[in-house]
Amino acid sequence: MTGSISTADRDADIRARLSILRLPQMSPSRSRWLFADLTGPDAAVAAVERLRANRLPPEAAPAGMDWKVVAAWRAKLFELDLDVELARHAELGIGLLSPLDHRWPFAEDPEPPVLLFHTGDLTLLRRPDAVAVVGTRRCTTVGRTVAYELGRGLAGAGVTVISGLALGVDGAAHRGAMDRAGPVIGVVASGLDVVYPGGNRDLWHQVATQGLLVGEAPAGDRPQRWRFPARNRLIAGLSRGVVVVESHARGGALSTVDEAIERDRPVMAVPGSVLSAASDGTNGLLVEGAIPVRGADDVIGTLSFPSDGPDEPGATPGPTAIDPGPAAPLPPAAGPAGPDSARSGPASAGSGGGFDAGSSNVPDDPGEALEQLILAEVDTGPVHVDRLVIASGLAPAALLAQVQALATTGRLIVDGATVSRPC
């Protein structure tokens, strides 16, 4: 397809599309109207010509369309200086990707964006394994931890984590993935130079440098309210599946779910307490048939991705927060019947003494016994380290050291002084 299109055509296409996006009060439904009945590589140029000649098909107009807007569009077409617009994007380091490009990811999408603005590593679009991790901005501590560990786990398996750079679940998932130096794509609702929300400024820039930042709004566009649901369709379109970590009964994450269903993407949800309002939406999804997932393993299993990622040669589908240690990772702390071969893992990576008992499965070694005691304590939910100190009767120094060793090997999650088992 690309072979038959000349550079000049391509340039004209991008200019036509950018001018459409710059029209006042433009929205996805209005831009679809501009393209109505037009197909092929010159659709955008033809759409602009048709608007200039005032020959838009009235029967395809979106409901409630005000024809004064069309007059304003035509006026804008005459005064728009596309050279300035293009120079501005180039100056900001923002690239423009059009459907004529062979890297265009929305070829089969029912509602593709007019243009995709991008900054960062564009090759990430070509990776086949990408999962969206989304959820409420008003998440609980549990939700944040789950999102973070999910991000880490997926990154550890080499899976690209897509999210919306919002506060709460979105940001936590990206932070987890980037802490593991994994591939990330941030899909934003504003122009790529308009950071929103301000609280995630560092994350925004980190995603742009370490991964890929994309959006359908040209530079300078504010994140208007309608842009967020529109953005959610891009998240769904770019991913192979959508995981909702926490969502209230109504929320933006559920609109991402609707878009994913429309695009035949599997929808996964993390179960939460039925007493937690922040899990009302996700639990509702599960009732309606979404796939329950507890962590990155379940996600990878659901999407049947290849289990080991390119940057983790030793990793197997094990626990989600395993460090690349010298030994094979361990299964999650399921119980005392774990396979022997894995027992040497934490000892060689973690502690020089104390629980170096190697392959013995019998908890007569004091280190081993302590390990079992800690794992048993966290089995019923997160606990504060004070409780572990009291339960073990050890000095805090010894206990904290053991907890750290277990955290390093991924058998415990430590958030502040709160210790829980991996999800």
Partner: protein, 506 residues
């Protein structure tokens, strides 16, 4: 006639000798005070006049000119009342001029002729350029600490003038009280803290290594109670530091304990409404020391750290780095001591319930705003960061006994002795370049830290602090040689980074 009396003024914590020159001459009755006096100093005229008359002496109905030399230095406060009164008495011939020659004086006068104490007597006595000092009896002990055997405590102008004229005996010079036993430790008893073993141990490590400590926890978790226990664990001040701290406290007008020396590490807990000036000092012409200087050689406790205005918190950064605070105003600059140990407490979020448990009622932006108060550089200074939770009720009711302050303080003293052998007061003062030499890592510990760095849970900056804390833990446990991995892991456990509060990176 002319008379000169030695006196002193204070700026910051340093005294400066001045001489009060009084000239009484014929001419229209009048009173002129020159030499950069401020308003409170200028008011001395009315106090001195009333005090002289109340004491039964005459006020010269002639031209009185008073010069405070050197004239370039701003004079502030009422401490010059007494030398001015003495100078006028001598210059008007009511007191033999020779009688004043060996004395320097400071003190405020009451209208009835009583002599009242003034702030900063330690610094003033130190600076007074005279053989013997006439010091208000209220604060004479402070002055006697720096000028033993030279301080004569005086109570009222009438008897002082009589004694100077030779009609009476001057009060005998004060000798500073002998060291003696320290009366009970400051702060509370550590044994009262029950069911929070990690926090207790963090306090011990903080005391042993001089590490700054941040406690995060919901209201009622006992953060303030814990913080007040820290000073009791610190070793008492040696004479040199006690003197330095006493000087600051005296300059700030804080009460000085009996015996005239501040011998326990001070504990200062300014409210979060405190202004920058209240914290770093320099509010008045005397450049009064602020709270951080008052906490010199002791503990500065900032409760509700998240409620302090950002400029106030940022003002702490330079003193934390350098151990002194330089306060500059248009006309003058002073350097105040500020070598304090910072202990801070904060809630996990504005509503205070964000630690876990899902009880938090804060919106995400509110939490983000709250966490942003703590700039990264400030957060970096806290070597120890712990999550504090209220102890479980069954532990409180069990009646189990915890170690007392005295037992823990003994271990702390042992660890401090090992730090002293390295040439620092506490491990927190060790420079990064010396760490390799005094605290080498075992190979297992190196592996563990490398893994943490790779995992992204530790930054390069954090690495140095972790090693310092690990060294302190080793000191407390009496571990010799390269730092074993358990000690490093324990240090990591004391550098908690709850994601819900501090974001992901730390």
């Amino acid at each position: 006639m002319l008379a000169t009396v030695a006196s002193a003024v204070v700026q910051g914590v340093d005294g400066h000798p001045i001489s009060v020159e009084v000239h009484v001459s014929s001419g229209l009755p009048g009173y002129t005070l020159v030499g950069l006096p401020d308003v409170s100093c200028r008011e001395s005229r009315d106090r001195v006049r009333a005090a002289v008359l109340s004491s039964g002496y005459r006020w010269p109905s002639r031209r009185v000119t008073i010069n405070l030399a050197p004239t370039g230095l701003r004079k502030q406060g009422a401490a010059l009342d007494l030398p001015i009164a003495l100078g006028i008495m001598a210059a008007s011939g009511q007191l033999p001029e020779a009688a004043l020659r060996r004395y320097g004086a400071v003190g405020e006068l009451g209208l009835d002729g009583s002599i009242r104490s003034v702030p900063a007597l330690v610094s003033l006595a130190d600076a007074l350029d005279a053989e013997e000092l006439l010091i208000p009896a209220d604060g004479a002990v402070e002055a006697a600490v720096v000028r033993p055997g030279a301080v004569r405590p005086v109570c009222d102008l009438a008897s002082l003038l009589r004694a100077l004229a030779g009609d009476d005996e001057l009060p005998a010079p004060l000798t500073p009280p002998a060291g003696g036993q320290l009366a009970g430790g400051p702060g509370g008893e550590l044994a009262d803290v029950r069911g929070q073993p990690t926090a207790r141990w963090a306090l011990e490590v903080a005391a042993a290594g001089g590490h700054h400590l941040l406690m995060i926890g919901p209201p009622g978790a006992g953060k303030t109670m814990l913080a007040s226990r820290l000073v009791g664990l610190l070793p008492p001040l040696d004479r040199e530091r006690a003197l330095a701290t006493t000087r600051v406290h005296s300059a700030a007008g804080l009460p000085i304990p009996e015996g005239g020396l501040v011998r326990h590490p001070p504990f200062r807990a300014p409210h979060h409404g405190a202004s920058v000036v209240a914290l770093v000092g320099g509010g008045t012409a005397a450049m009064r020391p602020g709270e951080i200087s008052c906490a010199d050689n002791g503990v500065l406790f900032l409760d509700e750290l998240g409620e302090f205005p950002v400029p106030v918190l940022d003002a702490l950064r330079q003193p934390l780095e350098e151990g002194v605070v330089r306060v500059s105003r248009a006309a003058r600059a002073v350097t105040l001591p500020a070598r304090f140990q910072l202990v801070a407490a904060m809630n996990p979020c504005p509503c205070g319930e964000g630690g876990g448990d899902g009880l938090c009622r804060c919106s995400e932006p509110a939490r983000a705003r709250y966490a942003r108060r703590l700039s990264g550089p400030l957060l970096d200074r806290f070597d120890l960061r712990i999550d504090v939770r209220p102890p479980a009720p069954e532990v409180l009711l069990s009646g189990s006994q915890e170690e007392t302050t005295a037992v823990v303080a003994a271990r702390v003293a042992g660890a401090r002795a090992r730090a002293a052998a390295r040439g620092v007061r506490a491990n927190a003062e060790l420079r990064p370049d010396r760490l390799d030499q005094v605290a080498p890592l075992s190979s297992a510990a190196t592996d563990h830290l490398r893994a943490e760095l790779r995992r992204g849970t530790l930054t390069g900056r954090g690495l140095h602090r972790i090693r310092t804390v690990a060294l302190t833990i080793a000191d407390l446990q009496g571990v010799e040689g390269p730092l074993p991995v358990e000690v490093v892991q324990a240090a990591l456990g004391l550098r908690s980074r709850p994601r819900s509060v501090l974001g992901a990176a730390a």
